[in-house]
C-alpha cells in the first residue's frame, strides 16, 4: 500500500472517510453474499481495495495543529499558533 493518492479513482478520492467506509462495508457485504456475477465481483473487489486505501490515507491525516483566532481592532480575523 505504497501507492500515491493519485492512483485512486477521482470519485473515490473525493469521498469523505465516512462515505468511503460505508461503501467499503456495502461492497464487502455484497461480496460475502456470494451472489454477484464474477465480473461484477471482481470490479467490486477492485473498488473495495481502492476505498480501503482511501480510508487508510484519510486515517493517516491525523495531525493536531492548534491555532487561535485573533481579531484586530478593525475587525480583521487572523490566526496564530495557540499556546496555552
Amino acid at each position: 500500500m505504497t501507492k500515491s493518492p493519485s492512483s485512486l479513482p477521482a470519485d473515490i478520492a473525493a469521498l469523505s472517510f465516512e462515505d468511503a467506509l460505508m461503501e467499503l462495508e456495502k461492497l464487502v457485504k455484497q461480496l460475502e453474499d456470494g451472489k454477484a456475477k464474477l465480473d461484477d465481483a471482481i470490479m467490486a473487489y477492485e473498488r473495495g481495495a481502492a476505498l480501503k486505501r482511501h480510508c487508510e490515507l484519510k486515517l493517516r491525516e491525523a495531525q493536531m495543529r492548534i491555532e487561535q483566532i485573533s481579531v484586530s481592532a478593525d475587525g480583521v480575523v487572523s490566526t496564530k499558533d495557540f499556546t496555552s
Binding site: 467499503l24 461480496l31 456470494g34 493536531m64
Partner: protein, 452 residues
C-alpha cells in the same frame, strides 16, 4: 439662606439646635447616605423599567408600599448579565445617592441578579418557552455532525482546564486541526463575545472554516453560566450553519444553548469524544473491511471454481460427450450416402425405363416391317383358312356339277342341240325345217340344218 438672629422666631425648646441651610443639609444628607450606603444589596421587584435614549436605564424597585428609584448608567447596562424586565424579582448591588435638586435619592445599580433560584429558573423557563415557540429548538433544525470533522472550531476561554481537556481528548482519539476562538466565558461581555465567535466561525472563508464547533465552559454557579442562557448566544447557536456541540458546566447543568445546539455534551471532554471517532477503531474497521473483502473474493472465486468443477463433472468428458454424436453423425452420413445412392439408382432405373420405352426409328421401322410381315402371314394364313374349305367345296361342287352337267353325258353319246340363240332344243317340234341348229358333241359343236 444663612442663619439669622431669632428676631421673628419665638424662643422654643431646643432652640439651640444648630440650624442648617438647605444646601448644607442636602450636602450632609448626601454625604451620610453615600457613606452609609456606599455598597448595598437591595432586593425588590422591578415595577417600572425604561431604557432612555441616552442609554441609561431607569427603573423602580418596589416592595409592598415602598419604592426605590434606581438607575443603571449606560456603561453598566451591557454588563448586567440579564435584561431587567418589569415583574422581575432582583437583587441589585450598587450605591445610594441623593439628588438634591429634587430632594430625592436613588440607587445607582452596578450589578443585578435575579433574586433566588426560583426567580432565575422562572426567567429561564419563560425564555426557553419563547425561543422554543420561535422554533429555535426544533429537531428539524438539528444538523448532523460530520463523521470525521476536517477542522474543529472551539469557542471557550484560552486559559483553564476546558481547552486543555478538549485538546487532550482529541489527541487521544483522533488528532485534528483545531481553531480556538478565545472568549470570556463569564461576566461582563461574555455573552456578546461568545455570540460573536460563533458568527465569526461561520463567516470564515471555507478553507479555514471549521466543519464542527464546540462551545464549551467548565462548571460554575448558575450565574456564571448565565452567558450561555443569553438570547443572543442561543440565537447564534441556532443560526450557525456549522453544527454545534454545546458543553457547558457539569453534567447536571443545563443552559439554553444546549437546546439550540445540534448535540449537547455533558462536559467539554465528552464534547471532544462526540466530535471525533477513535482513530485506532477506524483503522481496525478499515483493516477488517479489507480482510473481509479479500476473504469474500477468494470465497467467491473458490465457490465459482467448485461450481465449475461440479458442472464439469456433470458434463463428463467432452470426448465421451462427442462420441455418440459423432456416431450419430456417421450413421446419418452413411444413410445419407446410401439414400443418395438409392436415389440415383432409382433415377437411373427410371431413366433406363424411359429410355427403354423410347424406340429408335430404325427399330420402329423394323417393328413395322415385322408387323407387316406378321400381318401378311396372318393374312395368308387367314386366306388359306378361309379359301381352302371353299376351294375344296368348290371342287366337290365342280365335280358334282360335272356329273350333273349335260355335257357329261355327251361322252356317252348324247348330244346337245341348241338353236342359234343358244336355246336348248328338247323337242322335235322345235326343230323346224330349215332352221339352223347346233349339235354339240363331246368334242365339239357341229352346225346342222334341219332338212325338210
Amino acid at each position: 439662606m444663612s442663619s439669622s438672629p431669632s428676631l421673628f422666631d419665638p424662643p422654643r425648646a431646643g432652640a439651640n439646635t444648630p440650624e442648617f441651610s438647605v444646601f448644607d443639609l442636602s450636602t450632609l444628607i448626601k454625604k451620610t447616605v453615600e457613606e452609609t450606603f456606599g455598597l448595598v444589596r437591595v432586593r425588590g421587584e422591578i415595577s417600572d423599567c425604561k431604557l432612555h435614549s441616552s442609554g441609561h436605564l431607569y427603573l423602580t424597585l418596589k416592595e409592598g408600599t415602598a419604592v426605590l428609584a434606581s438607575v443603571c448608567w449606560r456603561g453598566q447596562v451591557g454588563r448586567l448579565g440579564l435584561r431587567p424586565e418589569v415583574g422581575m424579582e432582583v437583587v441589585c448591588t450598587g450605591r445610594l445617592t441623593t439628588f438634591a435638586g429634587q430632594s430625592k435619592y436613588q440607587l445607582v445599580i452596578d450589578s443585578m441578579a435575579l433574586a433566588g433560584m426560583g426567580a432565575l429558573l422562572k426567567l429561564l423557563e419563560e425564555r426557553k418557552k419563547k425561543l422554543a415557540m420561535e422554533g429555535l429548538f426544533d429537531a428539524a433544525r438539528k444538523r448532523s455532525l460530520p463523521f470525521l470533522p476536517r477542522i474543529i472550531g472551539v469557542v471557550t476561554s484560552p486559559t483553564g482546564a476546558v481547552i486543555r481537556d478538549i485538546l487532550h481528548r482529541l489527541a487521544e482519539r483522533f488528532p485534528r486541526p483545531v481553531l480556538l476562538w478565545p472568549v470570556a466565558v463569564q461576566g461582563e461581555g461574555a455573552a456578546e463575545q461568545i455570540a460573536t465567535a460563533i458568527r465569526g466561525f461561520n463567516a470564515l472563508d471555507p478553507a479555514r472554516r471549521p466543519d464542527l464547533l464546540i462551545v464549551a465552559r467548565g462548571g460554575g454557579s448558575v450565574e456564571d453560566l448565565m452567558p450561555f442562557n443569553e438570547e443572543s448566544v442561543v440565537r447564534a447557536v441556532a443560526e450557525s450553519k456549522i453544527p454545534v456541540i454545546s458543553a457547558v458546566g457539569h453534567e447536571t447543568d443545563t443552559t439554553l444553548i444546549d437546546y439550540a445546539a445540534d448535540l449537547r455534551a455533558p462536559t467539554p471532554s465528552a464534547a471532544a469524544e462526540k466530535a471525533v471517532p477513535v482513530r485506532e477503531n477506524l483503522q481496525i474497521q478499515v483493516a477488517e473491511g479489507g480482510n473481509r473483502l479479500i476473504q469474500a473474493i477468494r470465497r467467491l472465486a473458490q465457490d465459482r471454481r467448485e461450481r465449475m468443477h461440479l458442472v464439469q463433472r456433470a458434463l463428463g468428458d467432452p470426448a465421451r460427450l462427442l462420441e455418440p454424436l459423432a456416431q450419430r453423425l456417421d450413421e446419418k452420413t452413411e444413410r445419407l450416402e446410401r439414400g443418395g445412392q438409392r436415389f440415383l439408382e432409382r433415377r437411373a432405373a427410371r431413366v433406363a425405363e424411359a429410355g427403354g420405352r423410347l424406340r429408335h426409328p430404325r427399330d420402329l421401322l423394323r417393328l413395322a416391317a415385322q408387323r407387316l410381315t406378321n400381318t401378311d402371314q396372318r393374312l395368308t394364313f387367314a386366306c388359306r383358312t378361309f379359301l381352302t374349305p371353299r376351294a375344296n367345296r368348290l371342287e366337290t361342287l365342280g365335280s358334282v356339277l360335272t356329273h350333273l352337267s349335260p355335257r357329261a353325258v355327251l361322252g356317252r353319246g348324247y348330244a346337245l342341240v341348241q338353236n342359234a340363240e343358244g336355246q336348248v332344243i328338247t323337242s322335235a317340234a322345235q326343230a323346224t325345217t330349215g332352221s339352223r341348229l347346233s349339235i354339240e358333241f363331246r368334242d365339239g359343236k357341229t352346225p346342222v340344218r334341219v332338212e325338210p
